[in-house]
């Protein structure tokens, strides 16, 4: 019989504090449940023995009265793009097969210091390039709400592992929506912090000026604790914000009275599934009932966000992925006689189609004669998109939008049409271009599949976003819904 789903962080924490369970028991339950849901292909590697040993240490700590953080002794899952010394990290790519990092990422150091226990690394789109977790060398992940559908991506494994009750918390990364979109599709809370809030040291880069590590939880409160654990300055990351990060969990007072919620008119137009539109509108109405004020705002350059994003992200990626050359680590093609042949064969064998597609586009837009027309132009439009948000936030405290214009699509439905896949990122990519924080939280269902409400805030205001999300969850129950087969 499959193990029961794990509760929220709060529930696990209380059970631990009251002595009703142990970290060892939570980790066993987590591992058992991961095994029982192997068919969803959410994990690429379980670290069962290490997790068990860490759980024992956590239990010993608790016995001696020591508690490192609210996450101490709590099992969680980590996307396969954060390195940890002595352990394999592959970004779901053949080109990193067998790569064992000699060093540990800043995020994993903080999670270790907080006492959190990773039970394993989760499936993802190769190098975080994708919106469906289908572009993985390990095969596609499936959505716990409907295994015929995608959990979203690229952090699909992490989002689905939380939705399936395998872990209360999970770590993901978000370059153009890779946390918020799967959070939306899987009916969990996903937080993409302000660019620079969480260390990128040891995060395998996709697009450096857009990448940001964040996390998933079933409630805004859980997500706040997770964010608190991983936030803060890291001198090894030149883009890390030096100011100390305020604790988000302390800001959840349930009060949204007088808060101005901006609704960008460009985000509520055509092309939104009616069920999504309805659920998001109802969520905004609920906030209004709780005392918030709704106000229409405008983001005039929103329609250019996807084009801008794909030019910048692929350009950076083409350069970031040049290091996978078969020289120092990872896959190398066998039997090449010249260096040139080795490079070409290694990279052609090692990268999947989506990664190659993006490397080619990125190389193209940076190449001689095209730089100004594409890359530089995109950087200029990026400025306009940032200004859009600066302007909008003069008239509101947070912006509320649908996370996605639709619910989770079917596996295989978009793999042959990359452009269509890219276009579904329309509501998420702007936050990355502007570097602002974003949260996706479940706000209902459309034809049985979860719908996500996206909240965007000014830089460094993730606490405000989580306060709003938490206030919403205090009066609604969508976040407590479980996928049918996992109830």
């Amino acid at each position: 019989m499959a193990a029961a789903p794990l509760g929220t962080l709060r529930e696990c924490r209380e059970a631990l504090d009251e002595g009703r369970t142990s970290s060892a028991a939570l980790v066993e339950q987590s591992l058992a449940r991961a095994e029982a849901h192997a068919e969803l292909r959410l994990f690429v590697r379980l670290r069962a023995e290490r997790a068990r040993a860490e759980a024992q240490a956590a239990d010993a700590r608790r016995a001696s009265g020591e508690r490192r953080s609210p996450l101490d002794g709590i099992p969680l899952a980590v996307k396969d793009n954060l390195v940890r010394a002595g352990e394999e990290t592959t970004c779901a790519s053949r080109i990193l097969a067998g790569f064992v990092s000699p060093y540990t990422s800043g995020v994993m150091e903080r999670l270790e210091a907080a006492g959190a226990i990773s039970i394993g690394t989760t499936n993802m789109d190769e190098f975080a390039m994708g919106s469906s977790t289908e572009h993985s060398v390990y095969g596609p992940s499936r959505n716990p709400w409907d295994p015929a559908r995608t959990p979203g991506g690229s952090s699909g494994g992490s989002a689905a592992a939380v939705a399936a009750g395998i872990v209360p918390l999970a770590i993901g990364s978000d370059t153009g929506g890779s946390i918020r979109q799967p959070a939306c599709f899987c009916g969990v809370v996903g937080v993409k912090p302000t660019y620079g809030r969480v260390s990128r040291w040891g995060l395998v880069a996709f697009a450096s000026s857009l990448d940001q590590v964040g996390g998933f939880g079933r409630s805004a409160e859980d997500a706040a604790h997770l964010l608190d654990a991983i936030s803060g300055h890291d001198p090894r990351d030149s883009t890390s914000i030096p100011e100390p990060a305020p604790r988000c969990a302390d800001a959840l007072d349930g009060d949204v009275a007088g808060l101005v919620v901006g609704l960008p008119r460009e985000y509520y137009g055509d092309g939104i599934e009616p069920g999504v539109q309805g659920a998001v509108r109802e969520a905004c109405a609920q906030l209004e009932r709780a005392g918030a004020k709704l106000r229409e705002v405008s983001l005039p350059y929103a329609e250019y966000a996807v084009a801008t994003y794909y030019l910048i992200a692929t350009a950076e990626a083409s350069s970031n992925l040049a290091r996978y050359d078969g020289v120092r680590y990872g896959h190398r093609a066998q039997g090449a006689h010249t260096l040139s042949e080795m490079y070409r064969r290694t990279r052609s064998e090692g990268f999947g189609a989506e990664v190659k597609r993006r490397i080619l586009l990125g190389t193209y837009v940076l190449s001689a004669g095209y730089y100004d027309a594409y890359y530089r132009k995109a950087q200029q439009v990026r400025t306009l998109i940032r200004r859009d948000f600066e302007q909008a936030f003069r008239g509101c405290d947070v912006i509320a939008t649908p996370t996605m214009p639709e619910t989770a699509f079917r596996l295989g439905e978009r793999t042959e049409d990359p452009l269509r896949m890219y276009l579904s990122d329309i509501y998420t990519v702007s936050a990355n271009l502007a570097g602002i924080p974003g949260v996706s939280l479940p706000c209902g269902f459309s034809q049985g599949m979860p719908v996500g409400l996206q909240l965007l805030g000014p830089p460094l205001e993730e606490a405000r976003l989580l306060r709003v999300a938490d206030a919403y969850q205090r009066t609604t129950a969508h976040h407590r819904a479980r996928p049918p087969e996992t109830q």
């Binding site: 990290t89 450096s208 090894r236 020289v327 120092r328």
Partner: protein, 490 residues
Amino acid sequence: MSAAPHPVYEVVIGLEVHAQLRTRSKLFSPAPVTYGAEPNHAVHPICLALPGVLPVLNGRAVELAIRVALASRCHVQPQSVFARKNYFYPDLPKGYQISQYEEPLATGGWLDVRMPDENGGARRVRLTRIHMEEDAGKSIHDAAIAGDATHVDLNRAGVALLEIVSEPDLRSPAEAAAYLRALRSLLRYVDASDADMERGNFRCDANISLRRHGESKLGTRTELKNLNSFRFVEAALEAEILRQAGILDAGGKVVQATLQFDPASGRTRILRLKENADDYRYFPDPDLVPLLLSDAQIERVRAGLPELADARCERFQREHGLAEDDARLLCESRALADFFEAAASRHGDGASLANWIRRDVLHALAEHGLEIEQAKLAPAALADLVKRVREGGVTAQSARALVPELVNKGGDPLRLIQERGLEAVSDTGALEAAVDAVLREHAGHVERLRAGEEKVRNFLIGQVMKRTGGKADPAALRRVLAQRLGESGS
């Protein structure tokens, strides 16, 4: 090879110099900077471009780069940007080099260089730009080591370099060499670089073109790569002038290309043509935000600059009464100028010290292939020695003989003089005996001198010197000789 101007063509040369900045750790990685370590013994995950690593800029490298920029009168930019230069090579771990491209650290300075054929004057060589970048690792293709493969050592990967680009203001290989020497001196003056070509931390690429004398339009230029010794620079440029002149003489056109000098054949060889050049796809490195420098930061660096060669040279002429040539020679190297100044503070006769340094110390250094920093000779020791000569306590000849030993082994010259019995013989009794003996032996010469053949006197003095082992005090000797010859006065 000749330094004379080409009869038909004017030679136009611009140089790009890469100087390794004198830092303890690398430009973007805390890995140590070493020389001669075992392969891959001085690396960090950043040097290996492991997945997830990020660069953080070395503040000391920035400071040294600003020093060079200020010393060469460049304008230090309030904002400069690091860009990625993308290309594949096994010793370039990230697949890109972090460099500065559209927005370099500094622009528009100059160096006043004493050119070999400018009759002692200096000429201004303009600098286009100065920027920071990281070095690549080393690919070893040598079959004896790597067999049929290529070996890659990443110890050097990421070491901080300064690239200094000159305008095409140089008109001959000898001028190029003179500019390089001036630049090397400047880099060492401000402690920014060891600038040691042998160790590969001062490397040079050259752009060179020819045009007919009087022509204002520049000819098609070629680029000479990796000119890694002063000898090479001149030889390679001479060879390329010959090659280009040959093409032009035959009515042909020089093709834009990158060439390499082959010292064995003494010829330049085309590596690749411009049209095959890589497309480097420069773009701002998203892992690094712009380097912002306030006026206050720049002024702090300026305040810490040592007195530079030109100013010091003028001061040496003024304060120590040195000839311009001597002053300039001493100031070419900061260490040498420091040495002189330390010696002069102990013994005030700067002109005489300069003379000793130029004639004896530099000679001894050259003999042993040493730099002044490596010499065991202390400034005070040289001052004491020169002072003793001046006081007549030792002859110049004896003192000079001691210099090579002092340079090599050090020691107290006054004690050496004593221990070896080199004190000048000024004691009249001993001198009279020696003079008398010489006069007896060379009676014929004495006759000639008395007959008015004055030059014979020097012969006789020389013979007395020989007899006293060079220790005779010259003034005393002349006096005694005159007396014994029955001359009056003197």
